[in-house]
């Protein structure tokens, strides 16, 4: 959050002077403040507090809430006419003449709240958490009550200390650099397996994006899109619903590692069934009224537990298989799959709340593309069985080179992959390439996430049109809810 700032930011001289801007002539001279009239009052300096109860107000209006430069809740209400005989009305002469609008009517004649009530409001006032009439009453009171004025100044300064750490400014790739630097100096005795690094990093990146979100953003609508094998399809949820979705699908991996499954025992296996079960059981998560920080922590703690567990299990865990209902992946690939899902949905969330989101670190990107390339031959075969892809042109013996599509992803993290076209058992080779497609990582993301119709993917293509079409459709069909 960019609510962080140096102490100079809270110097009264820096406060937007709402009062002066609100010169609509409603006689709010008491609350207009003269924050820019006294450049000498720095933080902690209470010398600007008027010693005369009826002196001109020295307390600027409260600072706006974090990241909110227009956070004033609205125009100040007209002040009630002071009716308490113990507190004499302001002599007009004591007001700054420029601000004074003599003769303006003050229609409200309700008595102001007592000193004790006003004092109890000071914390809420400093946080801009009062109703407008209360704000006005407090500010009127501050002109008359020195002890409240001193406290008000102190509390308002304290609000300036309530900033979020500006983690959005933290370069997401710094994590990998810092950890690599540490491990270079002192190698880990229990390392994180290389195949789990992408998941670890992507989850941390998404977590950093979530950290600064308020409740409203957790409720922001998100449209999840994927390619169901035939056409683009979509589902509406919220940021909270997406995190729940990630959590319960990660839960399939957790269950395979003998960690607690967030859906409990006898949970369904397939990602979509798990997600539907969760959304059904936790309607709050999609409606967004649930406790968002608790959900974020559950998801994050499970992610940390996954990485911790495979670190200890080491090589032994990599070949365990994770059942996802209609398909199964070895743990190492399941982690890459979950890393990719995390990237995809972080992108969805970032888009929904209009934050920027960068590509993964190149090594992680490459590992995720590699998983996709390894899954493609089976995906092609499955589409072929379903009559959705062209039949094989020739029979190829297992392990022998066959017709190949050259998949090239450009830029750092990219590379060249050779996809066998006729059978998953065949070997793809550069020599047998009958087609070549080239795309950048962003286009790969859009295609493999099922965000664009496969035939419209931003892909450079050359060679066998049918092979290209089949591979593009098969790539998109790797996407799912």
């Amino acid at each position: 959050m960019s609510g962080a700032g140096g102490p100079e930011r809270y110097d009264p001289g820096d406060f937007p002077d709402y009062g002066h801007g609100d010169s609509s002539g409603d006689g709010d001279g008491d609350s207009s403040g003269d924050g820019d009239g006294d450049g000498t009052a720095g933080p902690g300096d209470t010398s600007g507090i008027p010693s005369e109860p009826d002196g001109p107000p020295r307390i600027p209006t409260p600072r706006s809430a974090a990241e909110d430069t227009s956070g004033w809740p609205g125009p100040l209400m007209p002040l009630p006419e002071p009716a308490d005989p113990a507190e004499p009305a302001d002599p007009p002469a004591a007001d700054p003449p420029a601000d004074r609008q003599p003769g303006t009517a003050r229609p409200d004649t309700a008595p102001p709240p007592s000193h004790d009530v006003l004092r109890s409001l000071l914390g809420a006032w400093a946080l801009t958490a009062c109703a407008p009439d209360e704000t006005a009453a407090v500010e009127a009171h501050l002109n008359r009550c020195t002890s409240c004025a001193e406290e008000a100044l102190r509390l308002r300064e304290a609000v300036g200390l309530l900033h979020a750490e500006h983690s959005l400014d933290l370069d997401p790739l710094l994590r990998s650099r810092v950890l690599a630097g540490c491990l270079g100096r002192r190698p880990a005795r229990i390392p994180v397996p290389g195949w789990a690094a992408a998941y670890d990093a992507e989850a941390a990146r998404l977590d950093a994006l979530l950290r600064d979100m308020g409740d409203a953003e957790w409720r922001a609508p998100v449209r999840l899109k994927w390619f169901d094998g035939h056409r683009l399809t979509s589902r509406n949820t919220t940021v909270a619903g997406v995190i729940g979705h990630l959590m319960v699908v990660d839960g399939a991996v957790a269950a395979a590692l003998a960690l607690p499954d967030p859906l409990g025992e006898h949970a369904p296996g397939s990602p979509s069934a798990r997600t539907e079960a969760y959304w059904h059981a936790e309607p709050d998560a999609t409606g967004g009224t649930g406790p968002s920080t608790a959900l974020r922590e559950l998801w994050r703690e499970q992610g940390h537990a996954l990485v911790r567990t495979v670190s200890f299990a080491g090589r032994g865990a990599s070949d365990l298989s994770v059942p996802f209902g209609d398909f199964t992946l070895p743990v190492r690939d399941a982690f890459l799959d979950r890393a990719f899902e995390c990237w995809v949905h972080a992108g969805d969330i970032a888009e929904a709340v209009d934050y920027p989101y960068e590509l993964p670190a190149s090594a992680h990107l490459k590992a995720m593309i590699d998983l996709c390339a390894r899954l493609l031959p089976d995906a092609l075969a499955e589409r072929r069985r379903a009559g959705l892809a062209a039949p094989p042109r020739r029979l190829v013996e297992a392990g022998a080179p066959g017709r190949t599509l050259h998949l090239e992803v450009e830029g750092p993290g990219g590379g060249d992959w050779y996809i066998p076209l006729d059978s998953p058992a065949a070997k793809g080779t550069a020599e047998e390439a009958v087609a070549h497609i080239a795309l950048d990582p962003e286009a790969f993301y859009q295609l493999a996430a099922g965000h664009v119709p496969p035939q419209e993917a931003a892909v450079g293509q050359m060679g066998d049109v049918e092979a290209i079409r089949d591979v593009l459709f098969a790539t998109a069909s790797l996407s799912r809810l």
């Binding site: 902690g44 974090a66 914390g123 946080l127 801009t128 958490a129 309530l162 979020a164 950890l179 491990l183």
Partner: protein, 194 residues
């Protein structure tokens, strides 16, 4: 701000770091990197320099997990102190370098002022993370979620009077960050040697 952790987490983290568990280092980074980077940035006002301090601090912690003494306070406040010291050291040596170019004088006042501001921020972080949870929850609702005190009261399930009291008390506690604590009552973990 909600990054505080129970003492048990601190001790466990220390043990995991000590036995060389890379996953623990990642978890520590996830929990505290933004604090470290933020505090360093407050002192140095430079993105790259804050990145470097972040690297230095985590490297120090990873190489010396036993330097942390849980009896002296939270891991978070220890790391905040480390960060502050690294950053102030870097700032002073940078200023000294600039001065040797023939500049100097007025800069020093600005530097000390910036260090003071950063110390206040570090104390504020300590106060916020160690204040009673009900006070912190009220402040978070009012400040980060921009609720007014009536909405905060409803969300917390307390009376409006109580919500106002918590907001005022929370800010009163926080405002003590501006007063440098005497050496003897410094927050645990402060004043430790690197």
């Amino acid at each position: 701000m909600a990054n505080d952790a129970p003492p048990r987490w601190d001790r466990r983290m220390q043990q995991r770091l000590a036995r060389g568990e890379a996953a623990a280092l990642g978890e520590l980074y996830d929990r505290l990197a933004s604090l470290v980077h933020h505090l360093a940035h407050r002192v140095l006002e430079d993105e790259d320099a804050a990145d470097r301090i972040t690297r230095e601090v985590f490297t120090y912690v990873w190489e010396n997990p036993d330097a942390y003494d849980p009896k002296q306070g939270s891991l978070r406040s220890w790391i905040a102190t480390l960060t502050h010291r690294h950053a102030v050291h870097r700032l002073r040596s940078r200023t000294a370098d600039d001065d040797s170019d023939g500049d100097g004088g007025g800069d020093e006042v600005a530097v000390e002022e910036r260090i003071r501001g950063a110390s206040v921020a570090a104390r504020a972080d300590y106060i916020v993370t160690s204040m009673p949870a009900p006070l912190r929850a009220a402040l978070e609702l009012a400040y980060f979620d921009r609720r007014d005190y009536r909405q905060a009261a409803a969300a917390l399930g307390v009376t409006e009077d109580e919500a106002r009291r918590r907001l005022r008390l929370g800010l009163q506690l926080l405002s003590t960050a501006y007063v440098p604590p005497p050496r003897t009552t410094a927050p645990p973990g402060y004043g430790r040697a690197l």
